[in-house]
Symmetry: C2
């Protein structure tokens, strides 16, 4: 699960990882409006509030949270299908949602993706040019709540300008290391002698 403030480059980094067959993304659902270029079913499942609340009621959300006035959540069925395939499931998730998933699935790995600094983040958001000043200030203010949540995460990865390959390599290393963690290989000794 990857969380990160606006401007951390989550989308770009995940796209880099998804070039490999063994990484698969579970598309989140949201009630926020699509940004220019965003495609329904690819970037997000864009739902109305009524639709989203209907899915919550039907128990179809692995987790969900409301932030900046919109719902964000993970459809359960899609995530479970990826895990059943043996692939690495990537989830882009808000800090509250991440805490909820970790509580239910302690084996999940929480990665906080950050720009190199708050100053760089602000420059990126302004450079994007797709959002109003009000939205930018809202996102920066939200960042002050999000980043301190890093203490509940397993890893912190910095996404430097123009180095998305290095950032993806950090996440690949984390996945590789986690798969070698003794706590995920409880039968190592028995298997060795069998």
């Amino acid at each position: 699960m990857v969380s990160g403030p606006a401007g951390s480059g989550k989308g770009t980094v995940l796209a880099e990882l998804l070039k490999e067959q063994n990484y698969r993304y579970s598309v989140s659902a949201t009630t926020r409006a699509p940004r220019p270029g965003e495609v329904n079913g690819v970037n997000y499942h864009f739902l109305s509030r009524a639709e989203f609340e209907g899915r919550i009621g039907a128990g179809e959300m692995l987790e969900y949270t409301e932030y900046c006035g919109n719902y964000y959540g993970t459809p359960k069925k899609e995530a479970e299908a990826v895990l059943a395939s043996g692939c690495n499931l990537l989830l882009e998730i808000e800090v509250e949602g991440a805490a909820n998933v970790k509580a239910k699935y302690p084996e999940a790995v929480l990665i906080m993706l950050l720009p190199p600094s708050f100053a760089v983040q602000e420059a990126r958001l302004r450079g994007r040019g797709t959002e109003t000043e009000e939205k930018i200030l809202e996102r920066l203010s939200r960042t002050r709540e999000e980043v301190p949540c890093v203490t509940h995460y397993d890893y912190v990865v910095y996404n430097h300008d123009g180095r998305v390959g290095d950032t993806a390599d950090d996440i690949r290393a984390i996945v590789r290391a986690e798969r070698a963690a003794v706590r995920r290989n409880g039968n190592a000794a028995d298997n060795y002698f069998s």
Copy 2:
């Protein structure tokens, strides 16, 4: 810290890692006899029992243990010099020694290196042709004590025949992931906004 039973290929894997500048090895001390080709000060510091016990008495050993009738230990001064340089310190260490170091340095990372299976290990030891049948049986018997200690380790890495590069990559991934671990980056949030 890398532990592994005889025939796990510790020496070969560490040599692969040491090709990189940012990995450095702290040469262990032992009272066992050098094997053909082993060089004093490179593979081990080969000491007499009296010399080794003198160093223990002088508090110059980070850890030491006695196994199969010989002492094995880590000279403190050498290990501390590597850590002070900022490099990754590699230690090849017995299971008892690893537990001792972990107790003193909880931030140390314990990796158990294993052959793919006990059967492969036995074939490797016999193929080596440098040891008597008695020694081989002693090492295999010792393995039955060592491998169950994996539960006290952080990671388990398998060294498959002819794939030392992959094995070294596993360890590189572990080091990279550990450096991104939140518990090693306690000031991440403060640093971000500063």
